[in-house]
Symmetry: C2
Subunit: 192 residues, 2 copies
Amino acid sequence: MRTLPPAMRLKVLAAADLFAEHGLDATKMEDIAAATGVPKATLYYYFEGKEDILTFLFAEILDEVAEAIAGARATSGSASDRLAAAILAHLRIFERFPMASRALQFDLGRAARVPVIAQRVDAAFVEPVHALLLEGASDGSLRPTRHPRLVALGILGAVTTTGINALTIQPGHRAEGVATELVALVLSGVAA
Amino acid sequence: MRTLPPAMRLKVLAAADLFAEHGLDATKMEDIAAATGVPKATLYYYFEGKEDILTFLFAEILDEVAEAIAGARATSGSASDRLAAAILAHLRIFERFPMASRALQFDLGRAARVPVIAQRVDAAFVEPVHALLLEGASDGSLRPTRHPRLVALGILGAVTTTGINALTIQPGHRAEGVATELVALVLSGVAA
DNA sequence: AGAGAGTTTATACTTTCAGTACAACCTCGG
DNA sequence: CCGAGGTTGTACTGAAAGTATAAACTCTCT
């Protein structure tokens, strides 16, 4: 993928709607050209192919997630507080970019095979939460876990599955409400 | 999709390996024909197309999940114990069918658009866990939650994300070990 | 046995797209 | 104003999905 001029970048972002609605393979290059206003030949000038466009879009939104979570992590407060803030920040992304999020749910499984995407998922979420778990074990606000990486993965799964479903696929919840429920689950569990 | 004769059903199950390795679109009908020993023309006699084969496979494995979880739910014991058993049972499926599980992680996002699959996911996991949460609130082993359906979704996300990653994509864990960590997360959370 | 319904399969075909090739044109810094 | 690199239309190639069809085969019922 060649580096995109800013104007082009903005136009291409519109492709998220198509991917969200039909998924990668049901979306034709001609459709992308039509929806973004960028001619097919130009798309092929910048991208290796369709999948490369999807990769670009996912990298963009994962960068948003990374930034949001890094922001939450950088707050002052106990690790526990910052974990709660990170979950809320993550959910707000789904609310802010519903279409891109739906696209994510549609094709992330495939995209995760692309190393760039796998790395970004890790860098955006798994790694910072993993770090928060360790910090929490130090500052005493979180209990130590034997496999913090697994736990971080579990939290990621809980947040994305619930968030994308409740905020984009069948809306009717607000990020704050979902966050309340999820933070309670993650911090305190469901035991009585 | 026509109903499959048992012999055919068994052969077609072998397609899971292909989907697990390459995903739906990178898998050619000719490849499926070669791998299963069922000629292309016969595949089209029974299935509407490629996606229909994927749907069939996912329905099969989701039925396994449904059965396993229903089994765990039918145990005697508190709702809390049965929730723990359900999580372990779910993880054991990933261990028993690693290939089908990888295929799931690859293409479930897309398959979930097919109503049949969405229903089975719900019936296999969300609904029983939802019920367990309510039972737990009654028998006192689980705390009441405001949105039990969201919480059930969260638990589903945590279990599948962690399970598929730790048991099939980068193995090196056993279902029991993962279950210990996840049950602790789900029941008690990570707060100190 | 034999008719007929439904199953199985080979082969050949149509169609739809992804991706390529290329030439013309445009734009902007030196 | 010249040339490099960006932009785009048009035409093409190739791969694979899916369709059509006819022949063969199997099983059941009479």
